[in-house]
């Protein structure tokens, strides 16, 4: 079982869209896949029309008591652990555990279902707190969307710093340019400046209306339009990430 975190400390970079679409493509390709919605806003859960069970909460989650709360999506080989409103307290609960990210708490959360899934995607909330430390420690791969703008690049640098401070291998990061608008000079020049770094994969996800419409359709782009440019872009991104792993 591989854990792939979709992470950025910056909000609005397309983390949830990435998590939902990569999980969908991975399942379509035959991987038994679990998408874990760790963001208390529950956007990934909303995209799949899945509500959490009332009895679920952050404490149960951190104890690894997740088996009874995972729900099947409408798609083969793709399950989802929906976010619970209490997940907004995950940092507090982790702090109570007093382990400060040194023990892989998050990894052990998924041990009870390790035999069920080939891949677990974590759709992470935007922050650089204790939870972020646990996430990057637990993940085998950290996929980080980067809008080709200054603040997004700054968020990437902060992620690199975080891994460095935690003495983690920076090679687990796979950055890609997200929400790319070729008509914007800033986007073009930023991509030009940074794409040479091996941390970036080749595939970029353009800014597309189809991706925005996921909120209306409430399903992955590939499920709505299998051969759309957005669906194909996510497929290429997944292939590149999977091959490099």
């Amino acid at each position: 079982m591989k854990i792939i975190a979709i992470f950025s400390s910056k909000g609005g970079v397309g983390k949830t869209a990435t998590a939902v679409n990569l999980a969908y493509v991975a399942a379509l390709g035959g991987c038994s896949t679990l998408l874990c919605d760790m963001d208390s806003q529950g956007a990934a859960s909303y995209y799949f029309r899945i509500r959490p069970k009332k009895k679920f909460n952050d404490k149960k989650f951190l104890r690894g008591d997740i088996n009874g709360y995972i729900r099947g999506t409408d798609f083969d080989k793709l399950d989802l652990l929906p976010a619970h409103f209490s997940f907004r307290h995950l940092d507090i609960e982790l702090a109570k555990l007093g382990k400060k990210g040194k023990v892989p708490v998050l990894r052990s959360v998924f041990l009870p279902v390790a035999d069920d899934y080939d891949v677990v995607f974590l759709d992470c909330p935007p922050n650089l707190t204790l939870l972020a430390e646990h996430i990057v420690r637990a993940a085998d791969i950290v996929v980080t969307p980067v809008i080709p703008t200054t603040l997004s690049i700054l968020a990437l640098k902060q992620l690199l710093k975080l891994l460095s401070e935690l003495k983690l291998d920076q090679n687990k990061i796979r950055a890609f340019f997200s929400m790319v608008e070729r008509r914007k000079n800033l986007h073009v020049s930023t991509i030009e400046q940074y794409r040479k770094y091996p941390i970036f994969v080749k595939t970029a996800i353009p800014f597309l209306a189809e991706i925005e419409k996921m909120g209306i359709n409430r399903q992955p782009v590939g499920a709505t339009a299998r051969n759309s440019s957005a669906a194909l872009a996510y497929e290429r991104l997944w292939q590149e990430i999977w091959q490099r792993s």
């Binding site: 899945i50 709360y69 099947g72 999506t73 080989k77 399950d79 069920d116």
Partner: protein, 514 residues
Amino acid sequence: MKSGYLAFTLNGSVDLDRLLEKIGSLFPVREEAVFHVDEQYLDTFDWRMYTSGFVFRQTGARYVLASLLGTPVFEISGPEKPKLFWWDFPEGILRDRLASVSGTRALCPVLQVVGLRRKFRLFNRDEKLVLRFSLDTGEVSADDEDRGPFAPYLRLEGIRGYQKPRHRIAELLQRNGWQELKAGESFFDLILRAIGRQPVDQKQKASVFALPEQTTSQAISMIGLALHTAMERNLPGVLKDIDAEFLHDFRVALRRTRSVLSQLKNEIPPGQAGVFQEEFRWLGSVTGPVRDLDVCLQKSQTYRGLMSESLHRGLAQLLEEIQQQRTAQFIKMQEILQSARAVNLLANWHEFLTALPADIEWPAGQVPCPKVAVKVMRRCFRRLLRDTGAIIGGEQGDSAIHRLRIQAKKFRYMAEFFRRFFPADDMDVLLKELHGLQDDLGGFNDLAVQIRGFQQRRATLQPDETIRGALDGLLAGLAAEKKRILKRCVKRCAAFMGQDRMQAFGEVIKNTSG
């Protein structure tokens, strides 16, 4: 990916509109797809797929290996042929699985299902999928003879985390006359039932044995008829050349029959035993060459391992020649097996065996079977010891090994037929020991036959240089292998003779009175 399913069936036909209306009152329901189903189920003659917990389905060039309960395990594309072997499929996990289950047996169509599969989806108020179900209706057929509609089959596919919808629909179905399939029961069982079939393990087992209350004639008749059935059962497969196992099993039943005739000849009316013995010897001799060539062809992988890669091309040519020779020999054998002599032999033997118990003219046949069994077993055991002793004493040529092999077979066959008359534990241990020895003796004999065949081929066919090189390499490899197995045979013989239990068994045989 835990979800689980429930399967239901209905006596009689299904009113789908009414059913959908009832389901629709609980959950919004949408039809997902309609498939025309035209599937063949493949298995070996002796149902090895089924007995190993699999079904193997074919639709055109698409093959699905599924669990008995219908869960697909592997899917693959393969050739469309009337009979298939595991080696006809591309390398991979499915091929390996087929190889381990089917061995050298052909996979042939056993059932054909033609019908409709309709798939539906149920949603909750968020329009989230909460349950899938499929409904199969249609007809099943086998061998063009048995044909009939199968009972409607409805399968609820649960979605993880949404148990309630599944329970509610299951309850609704039960209220409307649908019956849940019992645990372990599958769609395959349902379609088998529709035409009154049951998977039968066709493999001939030595499960026939004489009973204490039987006269010798009754026992001979019962054992002989069981072996006759085994020959008749395998004969169509032999004639159609479905796979090599038919001929092998046919010959095993034939050998056992010959053993009965030779070991119990004094208990059979004079004249008759001799005639049948001679005729069955002839049947053995006409089926032998094809079997020897089958063994040869089955060893092709072993042969490759015995020689350097540079000789593989020659080996391939050689095997091609052997295949051609096998085809020619098979045509001859096929003709002979359909000749009046062969057909009459089996018919006369059957007639003779059926009438035998009533033949009171021959007093030896009326002797209680246990009495004769003890006499026969003593004789066979004595000869087995004599021939095993000869090997240990240094007589280790092909003929000595062959003699012991035949003797061991005779002993085994008789021990199996008469096992009820001796202590089961002693008999089981002895037969287990004998089994190991027989494996090596058989291996040695196969090698001797192959070496002889290749030597003759080398001397007479004057093959080209490529084949000659392969033949030389092969002969050297086989000779070394034969030497190795001979050593093992001798060791086994010594161990067999030294067995305390074997000595004890000798005492048991000596002391058992009929």
